[in-house]
């Protein structure tokens, strides 16, 4: 058996377990952004499940973690690498054209980004460049988080717009289909109704007038759908404007409003102050005391206080209570 050339692993084969796509078609490859060496899913599970471990490629020596493994998107590993680096740099260098005074400055900024990406990708002055990134991120900490939030919001807006458009299109198509269907039916229907009405109507009626009224009716019907279509479009434009103006959707608004109202566990109906004060400690009832000392009472969870409470409530709730007044309420 020929030894595997680790620098040139066949495309559909895992160099660790030597499984290939031919024998196990369900094989999946993963890479780790530390070194971008491809390993099959099963090997990743096997090697890295118990914690970080060294990359199995000879002379790689990078320590890899399972949670950093991901599926390769681009066939060319260089492209994959560049995308990762670019994503990282852009999450720090995240200013927009509107943040600059003029185009020239913005271009300079973009140039700097390209410079950093290029250097990191081709391993030129890596340490120095990393330092630069770090410095920049510390200097601009506030604006970076702010811009990130803004970007997330834009993205959410975009998703909402897309959803709205999709809904609108499906509704519009449905209406259009209805109109087409009606059109083909309308001609037949027109004929039938005209014949029916001509048969039924008395002779002195003008056949021309009957025909005209039937035509009129049919027109009204087809117009109804057209009106609906117009209405739909108006509604769509209105909602789109609302999203662009950054208004919150009604459901979200309601949810936020409900979160603002504090939670009331007792629904505002907690025990009101008692009309009397309880002094269990001072209240001496030898009979009750003797009974309650019994373990049977304690073990069952019996609480003499609750009995006192109920008895006292029964004794006092009637006081200061005037039935006539209550009735008036």
């Amino acid at each position: 058996m020929v030894d595997l050339d680790w620098n040139n692993v066949p495309k559909d084969m895992c160099p660790v377990c030597k499984t290939d796509k031919y024998l196990s078609p369900e094989i999946q490859f993963k890479i780790n952004p530390e070194c971008y060496h491809k390993i099959c899913d099963a090997c990743v599970d096997r090697i890295f499940s118990l914690g970080p471990s060294v990359c199995p490629y000879p002379n790689c020596n990078k320590i890899l973690r399972k949670n950093k493994f991901k599926t390769q998107i681009f066939d060319d590993i260089e492209v994959e690498k560049e995308c990762d680096i670019r994503r990282r740099v852009l999450s720090i260098y995240n200013k927009k054209a509107t943040d600059f005074k003029n185009t020239e400055e913005y271009n300079k900024y973009l140039e700097e980004i390209e410079d950093i990406v290029y250097k990191l990708l081709h391993k030129i002055d890596v340490e120095k460049t990393e330092e630069r990134l770090k410095e920049y991120s510390i200097e601009n900490k506030q604006s970076i988080t702010l811009n990130n939030v803004r970007r997330d919001q834009e993205y959410e807006k975009f998703i909402r717009l897309q959803k709205l458009e999709k809904q609108y299109k499906s509704k519009r198509n449905k209406l259009n289909r209805q109109i087409l269907y009606e059109k083909s039916n309308l001609k037949n229907l027109e004929k039938m109704t005209a014949i029916d009405q001509l048969q039924e109507s008395s002779e002195e009626k003008d056949p021309e007038a009957v025909l005209r009224s039937v035509k009129e009716q049919m027109k009204k019907r087809s117009n109804k759908y057209r009106e609906q279509l117009d209405e739909l479009e108006k509604k769509y434009l209105r909602q789109k404007q609302a999203i662009l103006r950054n208004e919150k959707s009604p459901s979200k608004k309601a949810r936020e409003a409900s979160m603002k109202t504090p939670f009331t566990p007792f629904n505002g109906d907690r025990l009101s102050p008692l009309p009397y004060r309880l002094h269990y400690s001072r209240y001496k009832d030898p009979y009750v005391e003797k009974v309650v000392k019994n373990e049977q009472f304690k073990a069952g969870g019996y609480k003499i206080e609750q009995y006192y409470r109920r008895s006292l409530d029964e004794a006092f709730t009637g006081l200061n209570c005037f039935i006539e007044e209550e009735k008036a309420v």
């Binding site: 939670f263 109906d269 009974v291 049977q296 073990a299 019996y302 409470r309």
Partner: protein
């Protein structure tokens, strides 16, 4: 008297009462009319009817069924006019087509506990809490019903019967035959209902009274003098298999959807020693109710589309 209400149709029959769907003529509102059978009892009225009238007329709360009126009709039958509540929690738990989210469970438990809190502060134990007795109004409000076993917190010279609460929801002190107990039995039942809502299947389904003891303690550990002082002198504390209390991880596995504070509350409500069990007020102020998600508003809770008669 009966000219103020009409009975429209019979919707259920129990051992001591027949339940009709009726109408209050003055308001045209639906009501449930419970006609107590008087004939067959030589000692007069059945005890549960008396309990129901006695305690329900004291209660007026959003989460307790409303006793609208009581009247005797021409046949000298006693009729209890109750609020008409078309659904109950058991129906909802068993209807597998309904989706229940944690926020819904929170709302139902919240309403149950508010009802219990109201009973307990008025010195009344319900003693028969189970999903079947938690009725649901058309607006989604949950109401405690069936006060046939309710009683007031009694004096020390009164002995209560330990043969109360439907078996699956029976607290350990009742299983041991305690004759003196308190509101803790209701909290235990509510805790079992809480568990049932999360599992959507009964949590402690004992086949008979002995099996109930086994099932309960296998799930929650057998109580000892250490974690429940005095337990060994209770009448039925003998011949017990000693099960260890469940570890936190075992509970997590049993209730995969529960959050940590939900488990805290559940453990607090299902504490074996009734003296250490949370009371209704402590349950309501538990952090489970404050944490995200907020309880679903009652009107938005899942409910069955078709109407089901309230049974009794």
């Amino acid at each position: 008297m009966s000219d103020r209400y009409i009975k429209e149709r019979k919707v259920g029959e129990g051992t001591y009462a027949v339940v009709y769907l009726g109408k209050q003529l003055s308001t045209n509102k639906n009501v449930a009319i419970k006609e107590i059978k008087t004939g067959g009892f030589k000692d007069g009225l059945d005890m549960s009817a008396i309990r129901e009238v006695k305690y329900l007329q004291e209660m007026s709360h959003e989460n307790v069924i409303d006793l609208v009126d009581v009247y005797a009709d021409s046949g000298k039958n006693l009729n209890l006019v109750l609020e008409f509540l078309p659904s109950d929690l058991e129906v909802i738990i068993n209807d597998k087509s309904l989706m229940i989210v944690p926020a819904d469970i929170k709302c139902w438990l919240l309403m149950t506990l508010r009802g219990i809190y109201h009973l307990h502060r008025n010195g009344i134990m319900h003693r028969d809490l189970k999903p079947n007795n938690l009725l649901i109004s058309p607006t989604g409000q949950l109401k405690l019903a069936d006060f046939g076993l309710a009683r007031a917190f009694g004096g020390p010279n009164e002995k209560f019967t330990s043969n109360v609460v439907t078996r699956w929801y029976r607290a350990p002190e009742l299983l041991f035959g305690a004759r003196h107990y308190a509101g803790g039995v209701d909290i235990w039942a509510a805790g079992v209902i809480f568990a049932e809502l999360m599992l959507r299947t009964p949590y402690l389904p004992g086949k008979d009274d002995n099996d109930q003891v086994v099932v309960t303690f296998r799930a929650l550990g057998t109580p000892t003098e250490k974690n429940w002082p005095g337990v060994s002198i209770l009448p039925n504390y003998n011949n017990l298999v000693m099960y260890p209390p469940p570890s936190r991880q075992e509970l997590r596995n049993r209730f995969p959807a529960a959050t940590e504070s939900a488990l805290d509350l559940l453990c607090g409500m299902l504490t074996l020693d009734p003296n250490k069990r949370l009371d209704a007020g402590q349950c309501l102020t538990h952090k489970y109710f404050v944490e995200f998600p907020r309880p679903t508003p009652a009107s938005k809770l899942p409910k069955r589309s078709e109407r089901k008669e309230s049974k009794d």
